[in-house]
């Protein structure tokens, strides 16, 4: 297995780079634009700091007030106050990053993962007989990706369902002999002590999603551009946050994704040794999702109340994570991590040597996308945003194709469909509020629906539209799914009761949503 190291620039270098990058963009603004831009920071940060009243935020408060005072002065004063804040953000984002601890953690990754999932804190890292290699399945063109990583910087772009995604993906990279990557982890993820210990040693940089103003977002983008430009393989969850509904991402956030195209052009302009960047789509599929109950509750909450940051889910309870590790992850194929075909920054597939190919397999020079007919690079931010949109579309397409259908998804869809048929006049919100004695469906009918779904999914797999990991018959599939569902959630999603099946509508909806994008057609009830 090759030994990988992670590029880890010094704090000083990062500070200088970020101040330079942000300084350049501030310089390009007119006085009134700059004033408006920084006033947005002052307004949003004052509001946040007032709401949260965190004593540790006092230095930040001072920096914000200093920025507020500068708004009454000239451009020089405003820029200087902004630079002070940029340095502070640079420290906050980069400070957990340590090459030394990263190197050690990479070697300790498999046992560390076992222990993460079986312990309540770093001081209690005890073995639990968890064998990650047989439980977590890694699929896809890993040889090609490994080979590409030697001469290209990789950007992994996975789907996002759980806070466990990043450590599991970290494991998958290690298991497949792929280089590790840096990634942004929300401050809230550090509430679990074991997870915090683990993540801060795995290339995680800190993202404070409470800070919603443009300056902070621009600093994050500058950080990402700088690190990718230096050749650091990176990971973004382009969906932005965990899928609340269980749906596969169909629209993506373009902010961080767009930093790759900037880094690529900077690399070309500066004739760097390794300017080329390749994106690797990736799907992470769980038989059961740790935070399913909280996520679907949040998804069903009225739009205005849905939370972007959730701090009180199952992930924040170490004992629940431990239970999940033992009961769910410790079963065969409970997690399937599938890497998709690598693509360029516009969304075209690449060949083994990293050359871009059109849909007919003809290779071409992708630098033409960003240069004129004389071969000179042409900077055009609007064009690059459109290219990033096209990359996002290609990623969404790849997520559908690389998704792996598991028994729990298909059985949940059958249960949810049977429930809808039993109550044809009720809408989704009424169905999820059914009382417990109303939540049963006929077992035979559910099996018929399941069989119908199974045939369709098999056909889709033959057409290359999806992947599956399913038993042969609908009966076996239902048995397997019901057994899985009984392992973890407070209420089983599906549960046998004689000739009928009890359905938890919220969880059934959540797990069936994984297949919603395929528009499976069901034969109407006779």
């Amino acid at each position: 297995m090759p030994t990988h190291t992670l590029i880890s620039p010094s704090q000083k270098r990062i500070d200088t780079a970020l101040v330079h990058r942000i300084g350049q963009s501030l310089d390009e603004m007119k006085d009134d634009q700059l004033n408006l831009y920084l006033a947005d920071t002052v307004y949003k940060e004052r509001h946040r700091l007032q709401q949260e009243k965190d004593p540790f935020d006092d230095p930040e408060k001072e920096a914000i007030e200093s920025l507020a005072r500068s708004l009454l002065s000239g451009k020089k004063e405003m820029t200087s106050a902004a630079e002070h804040l940029v340095r502070s953000y640079s420290h906050e984002i980069h400070n957990r990053f340590s090459e030394r601890t990263f190197g050690a953690a990479t070697k300790l990754l498999p046992p560390a993962l076992n222990r993460l999932l079986s312990s309540s804190g770093p001081s209690k890292l005890l073995g639990a007989g968890f064998d990650a290699a047989s439980r977590i399945v890694v699929q896809g063109p890993v040889d090609q990706i490994r080979s590409l990583s030697e001469n290209h910087t990789l950007v992994y772009a996975p789907t996002h369902l759980s806070n466990l995604d990043s450590p599991l993906l970290g494991y998958a990279l290690h298991a497949a002999g792929l280089p590790p990557c840096i990634y942004g982890a929300g401050l809230n993820l550090f509430t679990n002590p074991a997870m915090s210990f683990f993540m801060s040693r795995l290339g995680a940089y800190t993202v404070d999603r409470r800070k919603k103003h443009r300056l902070y977002k621009d600093v994050l983008k500058a950080y990402s551009t700088e690190l990718i430009g230096l050749g650091a393989h990176s990971l973004f969850f382009p969906g932005g946050t965990r899928s609340r509904s269980g749906l596969i991402e169909s629209s993506l956030k373009r902010g961080l994704l767009g930093t790759a195209i900037t880094a690529w052009q900077e690399g070309l302009a500066e004739n760097r040794d390794k300017p080329e960047i390749i994106v690797v789509p990736c799907t992470i599929t769980f038989s059961l999702v740790l935070e399913a109950e909280t996520l679907i509750e949040d998804s069903l909450a009225s739009e205005g109340k849905a939370r972007y940051i959730i701090t009180d889910d199952e992930f924040s309870e170490p004992s629940t994570v431990m239970q999940y590790g033992r009961r769910v992850l410790n079963t065969d194929s409970s997690v399937i991590i599938r890497f998709g075909d690598p693509i360029d920054l516009i969304g075209n597939k690449v060949d083994d040597s990293g050359r871009s190919m059109d849909n007919h397999g003809r290779s071409f020079d992708r630098r033409e996308y960003v240069s004129n007919r004389s071969g000179e690079l042409v900077r055009d931010l609007q064009r690059d945003r459109m290219y990033t949109n096209q990359l996002a579309q290609s990623l969404c397409k790849a997520y559908q194709q690389d998704n792996v259908v598991l028994p729990t998804h298909l059985a949940a869809m059958a249960g949810w469909t049977a429930l809808k048929r039993r109550y044809p006049r009720l809408d989704t919100y009424q169905l999820v509020l059914l009382s417990s004695h109303e939540r049963w469906v006929d077992r035979g009918e559910t099996l018929t629906i399941l069989n119908d779904l199974l045939q369709q999914v098999r056909k889709m797999e033959e057409q290359g539209r999806v992947h599956t990991h399913l038993p042969t018959t609908a009966d076996d599939l239902l048995q397997k799914a019901v057994a899985s569902f009984s392992r973890f959630h407070r209420n089983a999603t599906l549960e046998f009761e004689d000739w009928r099946i009890l359905v938890d509508p919220k969880l059934a909806l959540y797990y069936s949503n994984r297949l919603a994008g395929y528009r499976l057609a069901l034969t109407e009830k006779a």
């Binding site: 516009i346 075209n348 871009s356 059109d358 849909n359 007919h360 003809r362 071409f364 020079d365 992708r366 630098r367 033409e368 996308y369 240069s371 004129n372 007919r373 055009d380 609007q382 064009r383 459109m386 290219y387 949109n389 096209q390």
Partner: protein
């Protein structure tokens, strides 16, 4: 600017005339007879490689072949100056470029310009739709002059859909003219037809304002006011017992299939298709439309 135009028919030549009036020296890519008045080449690949902007001005059924021969690459900017959807599949014409080549910078040119009027120097206007500002500005540079105003929009799908629906609606106006329903009825078809296009466009994520612009109302009024316009004259012919060209029938079917997938009701388009395929007599079809339930105008 080096501009290549694929298509040596009336519309290709009209666009070449407009680019020349805007101060450029366009070259025409052709098959068969060499066009007069402009330099041309039968080698579409070379034309593409040498053009900063490639305009494709061939009928919808010829676009796939033109693209296959031209092979626009990653550095090419392509503008489709063809109205309609892909024959057989009903997909967007721009998808032919995006799915079969490395080219990503694509636009669609539409509007009320009539080839016969353009070559006579009559004033006109066009709209270029592309998500890429670069394609929009290059097209403006290529075509904008005192003879032709060129407007821009990012709504590529809206403009492509408007083009497809205008073809069908212009046939419907022609039918109304042919059975002598009067000027008022033609006005109703134009406005309610645009309402249908707007409904479908909105469902597809297009900008509803696109349909009241040059590619929608502008193009439809122009097609429906010109006795020699192919769609309008097809409608008149059908009203008088003739048959419709299979292309316009296909177009109507494609639009209706899109509408069905997005659960949008298009009664006028449905009636037009029923008449074109001989399933309903024109007057009967219009009577059915008039008997529909009363409703507020925006819908």
């Amino acid at each position: 600017m080096n501009i290549g135009i694929i298509g040596s028919g009336a519309w290709g030549k009209a666009l070449a005339t407009l680019t020349a009036k805007a101060g450029h020296a366009p070259r025409i890519g052709f098959r068969g007879t060499r066009p007069s008045g402009f330099p041309g080449t039968p080698n579409l690949r070379t034309l593409t490689e040498e053009s900063e902007l490639l305009i494709i001005a061939v009928p919808a059924e010829g676009v796939a072949d033109a693209i296959q021969q031209a092979q626009p690459g990653a550095g090419t900017q392509v503008v489709l100056a063809t109205r309609g959807l892909q024959p057989q599949t009903g997909h967007w014409l721009s998808d032919l470029v995006l799915e079969n080549t490395a080219c990503r910078r694509v636009g669609s040119l539409a509007g009320p310009a009539m080839a016969s009027e353009v070559v006579r120097g009559r004033p006109t206007a066009l709209v270029i739709a592309s998500p890429f500002d670069g394609v929009c500005s290059a097209t403006q540079t290529a075509l904008h002059s005192e003879h032709c105003r060129v407007y821009t929009t990012h709504d590529l799908q809206g403009v492509e859909l408007a083009g497809a629906m205008v073809s069908v609606l212009a046939v419907a106006v022609g039918i109304a003219h042919g059975v002598d329903l009067g000027v008022g009825a033609k006005g109703v078809i134009v406005t309610r037809g645009i309402a249908e296009a707007t409904r479908l466009g909105t469902a597809l994520g297009a900008n509803p304002q696109t349909f009241s612009g040059l590619a929608g109302v502008g193009d439809l009024v122009s097609c429906a006011s010109h006795a020699d316009h192919p769609s309008f004259s097809t409608g008149v012919k059908i009203a008088r017992g003739g048959s419709a060209a299979s292309r316009v029938i296909e177009e109507a079917r494609s639009v209706l299939s899109l509408a069905e997938r997005h659960d949008v009701d298009l009664p006028l388009t449905q009636a037009a298709l029923a008449i074109m395929t001989g399933k309903l007599r024109p007057k009967l079809a219009f009577n059915d439309l008039m008997r529909r339930e009363a409703r507020p105008e925006p819908f």
